[in-house]
């Protein structure tokens, strides 16, 4: 990864577009750093995601987005700094308790066994069941409801190995929803989705935010839907969050060009920001 300093210094700009209570962040990184055996991946990052807000994490490949989201999910521990969840150190939260409140959707799921989609979603209920206590009828209903919330209830009895990449992705998000979390952290959930499914997923996540107050932080390379979908954007470059704020502020040519290290053009139309890059 490149580690040369930013040519232009970008400070925190703008505020959230939606009235979100920034005073009480649900999940917060405080000067967090993490290195994979001396290769720094996340450097001195601070960010806060308010309760019930939907945030997006953008940045070039290898800019540390996945590592940051794994740090927030508690899957890896920061080398320095700390992650705060609900005003307490995430590290102090028991793994099972954490799983009831923070859901994480990995970038890819590697299942070779033909579990049914329902079985996969039911694993999201495991933090609520015991070692020798299996899922109850209620767990099953919640799992079915989660599939339904993502419009994939018809897949319940299908084998996960037979599903298309996009369908599998939606089932994995349904599993996260079955955890009944307060925040969902998604690593490129839309990467395998076609336009229809991408819209379906974005709508579902917004509905969850609005109806159940679930906070969402997702990694995406798709800058097109962002400003109508999310409240906050965090932009990363070389392991640092170099800008954060409302979409209309972050989605500007200078900043994006800098983050992706390539000329970027933007255009406003119908209240939306369109982003593309010149060949």
């Amino acid at each position: 990864m490149k580690t040369e300093p930013l040519t232009t210094t970008i400070s925190q700009i703008g505020g959230p577009s939606r009235p979100v209570n920034a005073d009480c962040p649900l999940i917060e990184a405080k000067r967090v750093s993490f290195a994979y055996s001396s290769l720094p991946a996340v450097v001195d990052v601070s960010l806060a995601l308010p309760r019930g807000a939907m945030g997006a994490l953008i940045g070039a490949n290898g800019s540390g987005k996945s590592t940051l989201i794994r740090l927030l999910a508690g899957l890896i521990k920061p080398d320095s700094g700390e992650v705060i969840f609900n005003d307490a150190a995430l590290e102090d939260l028991q793994a099972r308790e954490r799983a009831k409140r923070i859901a994480y959707v990995p970038q890819s799921t590697s299942t070779v066994f033909p579990f049914t989609a329902l079985e996969v979603v039911l694993t999201g209920r495991s933090p609520y069941s015991g070692r020798f206590r299996f899922e109850s009828a209620r767990d099953e209903q919640i799992a079915l409801g989660a599939l339904d919330a993502l419009d994939v209830a018809h897949l319940a009895a299908r084998h996960i190995t037979e599903l298309s990449g996009g369908e599998r992705q939606l089932v994995t998000v349904a599993r996260a929803l079955a955890q009944e979390p307060e925040v969902m952290l998604l690593d490129e959930p839309a990467s395998a989705l076609d336009l229809k499914h991408r819209t379906q997923l974005t709508k579902a996540l917004r509905r969850l935010r609005d109806e159940r107050g679930i906070a969402v932080l997702l990694i995406t390379h798709d800058l097109m839907l962002l400003d109508s979908a999310v409240d906050l954007i965090f932009a990363m470059r070389c392991g640092r969050v170099v800008a954060s704020g409302a979409p209309e502020v972050v989605l500007n040519e200078g900043l994006l060009g800098d983050i992706y290290d390539t000329p970027v053009r933007t255009m406003r139309r119908d209240g939306r920001t369109f982003v593309w890059s010149e060949l």
Binding site: V112, P114, L144, A146, A153
Partner: protein, 369 residues
């Protein structure tokens, strides 16, 4: 949600989710019929009695069939017939059951842990490692007992544990993602190295010891009395308990390592527990029965076909089915070329080889090796 009440809607259930009422469409209600079967507790309640009955039947078959069929009248009157039954046939059938259940249980656990349907103590080189460990022990004349427990057991356990660790390291060296092909290749390499090691040891060892190693490698379910069985159980039972206790974690791991970790599974701890328990079981099982291949592969897959993918069902089901399977396979081995005897490993390999190839073909369709 629906404006006109219809039959479909009357069939519609409502459920509460986070306090909000969500209507469940009739289509899902229809699905529930098949889902009813999916509930784990229900499946366990069906699977376990069925398997126990199956095991009892195969036990009876194993006890009845033999060089001479069981004669109950002679058993009562003739002390020799009684001795033959209680000192030879009964221990042998019990031994076959214990070896079969142990190998099948470890196979099911390793498949879930490595997320690889082709994993088993044999294909991963764990049996090979156990053989090497035991050969070293025999060559150095350590065929002694330590507080009543054969040192060979401990040497085989160490060998098995070392090969599990090595195969894990090799398969993990490419990063966090473990390719199924890499895992099997690591297992093959390990098996080759272990058998080369055994050959070298055999070559260097004295004639008597070399013969001892050879006989040990072939292995046999033939035991006299229950002495060895008790000693074997000292190692196996703790292993079984640990593996069954890890069923929940293994089920979550089978659906993906990252998501299991995010669901609260301590992945490294589970791996360690399963490694130690598997090595313990495989070490002692291979020490006594020899390297009987493919039981750990076929049996869990048969259990999957019968009872589905849930690892929490699969582990106890494989355990019971493995016992029944090896008892029947051993019975076949005893009577197939009567009065002679086939090695039971030959029978399991003849059955297991084709199953392995079939699974390999199927897996190649899912993921590039």
């Amino acid at each position: 949600m629906h404006s006109i009440p219809s039959k479909a809607q009357r069939e519609t259930d409502t459920l509460e989710l986070n306090g909000a009422n969500l209507a469940v469409p009739a289509a899902i209600v229809d699905k529930r019929r098949s889902i009813k079967r999916a509930r784990v507790a229900v499946r366990l309640r069906v699977a376990l009695p069925l398997l126990i009955v199956g095991l009892i039947v195969s036990l009876l078959i194993g006890l009845y069939v033999g060089y001479q069929p069981l004669d109950l009248a002679a058993l009562k009157s003739d002390p020799i017939a009684r001795a033959v039954f209680f000192r030879l046939r009964l221990p042998r059938v019990v031994m076959a059951g214990l070896v079969g259940s142990s190998l099948a249980l470890v196979g099911a656990a390793l498949q879930a842990l490595f997320r690889n349907p082709l994993a088993d103590p044999f294909t991963l080189g764990v049996s090979g490692g156990a053989s090497l460990g035991a050969s070293v022990a025999i060559a150095f004349g350590l065929g002694l007992n330590l507080v009543g427990v054969p040192l060979i057991f401990i040497a085989a356990f160490v060998g098995a544990a070392m090969s599990v660790l090595l195969v894990y390291r090799l398969a993990h060296s490419g990063g966090s993602a473990m390719l199924p092909g890499a895992l099997l290749l690591a297992g093959i390499v390990l098996n080759l190295c272990a058998s080369a090691g055994v050959l070298v040891i055999q070559y260097l060892a004295s004639y008597g010891r070399a013969l001892q190693i050879l006989r040990w490698l072939i292995g046999s379910l033939d035991v006299v009395g229950f002495d060895l069985i008790w000693k074997m159980l000292i190692f196996q039972i703790p292993g079984w308990v640990v593996l069954i206790a890890c069923a929940r974690e293994l089920h979550l791991l089978a659906t993906g390592e990252e998501s299991a970790a995010s669901l609260g599974v301590n992945v490294r701890r589970t791996e360690r527990m399963v490694f130690i328990a598997s090595s313990l079981i495989v070490g002692v099982t291979v020490s006594v029965g020899g390297a009987i291949g493919f039981v750990g592969l076929i049996v869990p897959h048969a259990a999957r076909l019968l009872f589905g993918q849930d690892v929490r069902v699969l582990l106890p089901a494989s355990f019971l089915l493995g016992a029944a399977f090896l008892i029947l396979a051993d019975t076949l081995a005893r009577v197939a070329i009567s009065p002679g005897e086939l090695p039971v490993g030959a029978i399991t390999a003849l059955l297991g080889g084709p199953v392995f190839l079939l699974l390999l073909r199927r897996q190649q369709r899912y993921s590039a090796m």
